[in-house]
Amino acid sequence: MIKTAELTKVFRTDEVETTALNKVSLQVDSGEFVAIMGPSGCGKSTLLNILGLLDNPSKGKYYFLEHEVSDYSEKQRARLRKQNIGFVFQNFNLIDELSVFENVELPLIYLGVNSTDRKSRVEEVLEKVKISHRKKHFPLQLSGGQQQRVAVARALVAKPHLILADEPTGNLDSSHGEEIMKMLEELNGTGTTIVMVTHSLRDAEYAQRIVRLFDGQVVTENIKAPV
């Protein structure tokens, strides 16, 4: 599903040149659950952004669903992205002005799904993450765990092949964090590929494979048996 070859990302400011990713080669197969770990500033989020087609690499190749996308324009990336990728962020990134229902509905609107279909699909996915009783609430009226469940619902609603999670439990207490991880695990069980960036070993335990990054390079890849 995902294959990168010597992926490199360099950030330049006026005076400093920072290499965030240095020749990262990585493969993720369909149906896998991969955790990316490493200390702060090692390039985890940069990698995730490139994998999520939010950003282009400076050098190297990136194959997403067999397409070589490293020099795709923002428009082309956006098209691929909205059909295939769901995102879950550490800080949830819900839109405060929209209700739970409207937040989850958003990806479907951008996909051009008609309103009756949207309604049933949103209801369905809200049911799945057990938050449908709060669908008329606004994000600020919910607890962190509830907000993240909404974010997961939003990532799921378009039925993506790949879910990218950036420290999904980072802002949650342990019981809420576990709830979210169980949800992701379940999702993976139904065939969705998941790539997750995390600091937490406990969360990483849910993945089948852990990739460790250090200073923009892959240092180890351990394959674990499914939990």
């Binding site: 999520g52 992205r81 909205k82 002005e97 958003l106 600020l140």
Partner: protein, 801 residues
């Protein structure tokens, strides 16, 4: 401490350059517009302020109940009125009369004759009552003897080169000889309703004209001075009963006899809109437009303040953290308030300084539009200084109040934890409301200029019922000897370029005078009519249509003595079925009955402000004041030189003066044109300020929305979708503003346009265009930021908050 706050405020201004620029720029043009308007308002309110004891001086006004037309207020009175009132009412301590001759030729001993405007006969009391000051001559004697004349300083220099050489000179007036210059007076102030450049002793009029002095006709201004505690309203009530008895008015005429009342001189300039005839009200103003000007001035400044407040609100999220930090470090609420007020104070000082510069630059243009000579006299105009001080305090307070009171109240812990959200601040509604307010003003102004423009355009292009195109009016003054006129006419018509020549009392056919005529019928109907003095060719040459009967004709020997033509309005007012069988007796010539020989179609002899009233036309060369010349196509140099040469040949030494008739017609709409032009500028100013505010606001709001935009893009929104979303959010506000502004402006303009007897009406497209213009301008303003935000990389916005 104060300096410390100013220093911090100054640093803040420098640090936030673009924000400071928007604020200073907006405030500067706002204040400059305000100052210029207020200088004008001050000027308008200052009329007649030079008159000593002006609170005791009143103008006599008649309320007449004429037959055939509406009641009318007339500030023209009879010659003996002033004296009679003073003799019979102890409250009246003095009076003065002014009889305006308008523009007349004055000749000096060396043979030069120049036209001079603002010439009046007057009583010696003019010195005391109007505060006329002599710089040469003696007030006691200067206007006593017949044929005594005094000149203003300016006019004395015009005729005699200097003030001193003017004294005791002998001049001719209208060709009458032996007028002696007995004094030179100071130039009259600009802000006087009665403008005088040359004054002639009233005794001259008694001396020269046998008919002068009776109660027959209204011809001059009468002003009376009341004793200190007299009530002019109470006094006015006594006039009619007194006059009825004094003049022995018969019982049946008593009811229609006019009412006389007193109008305070200090309201003559602004509150004479209801008066139909006045001897003079130089540059008459209106209280309504002064009020409108004040409202606009205040609105423009408020709009500029709103920018400040709005940007302050938008910034407050950022500033809140700083405020919280300062509080943690021990700042008291009051010290924080000082800080914010210090900032707005500094900003206002800078803006006022710049605006003074702007006023200095633009005042000449403003003067040009309004035809005034306003000066920004910082040293001499104490009202201006007080005004500036008040502006400084008010703007600083209004602008600084929001940040000062609101931000300083924040609880430090809440702010620092970042748990302060947009909703928490409840500022969304306020700043949206303020933007809406700004656009309400702008849209209303755009609407108003368009409605005015349509009206003026309508008036300028409306068929007047005659054809003034390419017609030129040569002023005759007193040169109306029939033989001379005939010669001039023949001479002019020799030129092929000239296609028609005709003389009349005025280019429109009617003179200013109005009088009652008596119809010779069983009921002895009398009716108030306008009088038009025309020659045989006038009606035809000017393209007026005879709809019944015939035009004047030289082959009918008695036409000049016994024939009249009336307009259709007269026929309708009198209810005549067969106008050609009617005849009546005019006031000036009771020997000859006049027979109606024709009916002329109604045409607009006056401006379209007023309705067409009954008019009567007669052949009467003594009253001819203008010779109308129609040329074929555009006037060229050759033709105009030919006209001037012909004039000089027949009237040697007499000043030549020619006007374009179309300009004379358009002069009637100058007031509206000026108002439209000014409204235009005000609308532009308010749009600029509002757009600046909107620009500033979008900068901040889009910054706050970066996260949302980022999320939407991650979820698959395209740039265009983001731009549209942002545009709709802002344009919605402009649209709401339109919904509020348009009905308001419509109501207001409907009221203004009600002053016209003929109205263009307000069309639907004015609503649409006013709305579209503001939407387009708002779109342009927002587009830059919206596009930039939409094209930014979403990654920057979302992950690293």
């Amino acid at each position: 401490m104060f300096w410390n706050y100013l220093k911090i405020a100054f640093r803040n201004l420098v640090r936030q350059k673009s924000y400071s620029l928007i604020n200073i720029f907006g405030l500067t043009i706002g204040i400059a517009a305000f100052l210029m308007i207020m200088l004008y308002v001050q000027h308008e309110l200052s009329y007649n302020s030079h008159i000593p004891n002006k609170d005791r001086l009143y103008r006599c006004v008649e309320l007449q109940f004429p037959d055939g037309i509406d009641d009318q207020h007339v500030a023209v009175t009879m010659v003996p009125l002033g004296e009679t009132l003073m003799e019979n009412f102890p409250e009246i301590t003095n009076f003065v009369r002014l009889w305006n001759l308008g523009e007349i030729p004055i000749g000096t001993r060396d043979g030069t004759i120049l036209n001079q405007n603002f010439v009046s006969f007057t009583d010696t009391t003019v010195f005391e009552l109007f505060g006329v000051e002599l710089i040469r001559g003696d007030e006691e004697t200067a206007l006593v003897e017949p044929r005594s004349i005094i000149f203003s300083e300016k006019t004395a220099k015009k005729f005699f080169g200097s003030v001193d050489s003017a004294m005791n000179q002998i001049v001719t007036l209208f060709g009458f000889e032996g007028f002696k210059v007995t004094g030179v007076m100071e130039n009259p102030p600009v802000n006087t309703h009665y403008r005088y450049e040359v004054l002639i002793s009233m005794s001259t009029a008694y001396d020269m004209f046998d008919w002068f002095g009776g109660w027959e006709s209204n011809m001059l201004d009468t002003y009376v001075q009341l004793s200190e505690n007299a009530d002019h309203r109470e006094l006015s009530k006594k006039f009619k009963p007194f006059l009825l008895e004094y003049r022995e008015i018969s019982e049946e005429e008593q009811e229609s006899f006019f009412d006389l009342y007193l109008q305070p001189v200090d309201v003559i300039h602004l509150k004479s809109g209801h008066i139909k005839f006045q001897v003079m009200n130089y540059r008459q103003g209106s209280a309504q437009s002064v009020l409108i000007f004040i409202i606009i001035a205040v609105l423009i400044v408020v709009i500029a303040c709103v920018n400040y407040i709005n940007i302050a609100i938008a910034r407050s999220m950022k500033q809140a953290r700083e405020v919280g930090m300062r509080k943690v470090l021990g700042a008291s609420r009051s010290s924080l308030m000082y800080r914010f007020f210090g900032e707005s104070f500094l900003l206002t000082v800078i803006s006022i300084a710049f605006s003074l510069l702007l006023v200095e630059i633009f005042l000449p243009y403003f003067n040009d539009i309004l035809r005034v000579d306003l000066q920004m006299d910082l040293a001499g105009n104490w009202m201006l200084n007080i005004g500036l001080l008040a502006l400084l305090v008010l703007i600083s307070l209004i602008s600084g109040a929001y940040p000062a009171f609101y931000l300083s109240r924040f609880r430090p812990i809440k702010v620092l934890k970042g748990s302060l959200s947009d909703n928490d601040m409840k500022s969304g509604w306020l700043s949206k409301g303020l933007v809406v307010f700004q656009f309400v003003v702008s849209i209303a102004l755009i609407f108003s200029i368009m409605a005015l423009y349509k009206q003026i355009n309508f008036l300028m292009n409306k068929d007047l019922g005659y054809n003034p195109d390419n017609v030129y009016a040569v002023s005759l003054h007193n040169n109306n000897d029939p033989d001379d006129l005939r010669q001039l006419k023949e001479k002019l018509l020799q030129k092929p370029k000239i296609t028609g020549v005709a003389a009349a009392s005025y280019y429109n056919g009617v003179a200013g005078n109005q009088s009652t005529i008596q119809v010779i019928d069983s009921a002895e109907t009398s009716i108030m009519m306008r009088f038009g003095y025309v020659d045989y060719d006038f009606l035809d040459m000017m393209g007026m249509q005879i709809v019944e009967g015939r035009n004047f004709d030289e082959s009918y020997a008695m036409d000049s003595l016994e024939a009249v033509i009336v307009n259709r309005a007269a026929v309708e007012t009198l209810g005549w079925e067969n106008p050609l069988e009617q005849s009546f007796t005019p006031f000036y010539d009771t020997l000859h009955n006049r027979k109606v020989i024709g009916v002329v179609e109604d045409y607009h002899y006056y401006s379209l402000h007023s309705k067409i009233e009954p008019a009567v036309y007669i052949i009467y060369p003594e009253e001819f004041r203008q010779m109308m010349v129609r040329v074929n196509g555009e006037m060229n140099n050759e033709a105009s030189e030919y006209i001037e040469e012909s004039w000089k040949e027949i009237f040697p030494g007499r000043p030549f003066e020619m006007h374009v008739v179309e300009n004379l017609i358009q002069n009637s709409y100058r007031g509206e044109q000026r108002m439209m032009e000014l409204f235009g500028y005000f609308a532009i100013i308010s749009l600029i300020i509002s757009s600046l505010g909107l620009y500033g606001l979008t900068t901040f709001i889009i910054q706050q929305k970066r996260k949302e935009i980022g999320i939407r893009k991650v979820l698959g929104s395209s740039s265009v979708q983001v731009i549209l979303m942002l545009m709709i959010r802002f344009l919605k506000l402009v649209f709401i503003a339109g919904l509020i502004a348009l009905p308001l402006a419509w109501y207001f303009m409907d009221d203004i346009l009600a002053g016209f007897a003929y109205r263009a009406g307000i069309s639907w497209y004015i609503f649409v265009i006013a709305m579209l213009v503001s939407l387009v301008i708002a779109t342009i303003t927002i587009l830059y930021h919206a596009t930039r935000a939409a094209n930014s990389n979403p990654v920057d916005a979302i992950s690293y908050e």
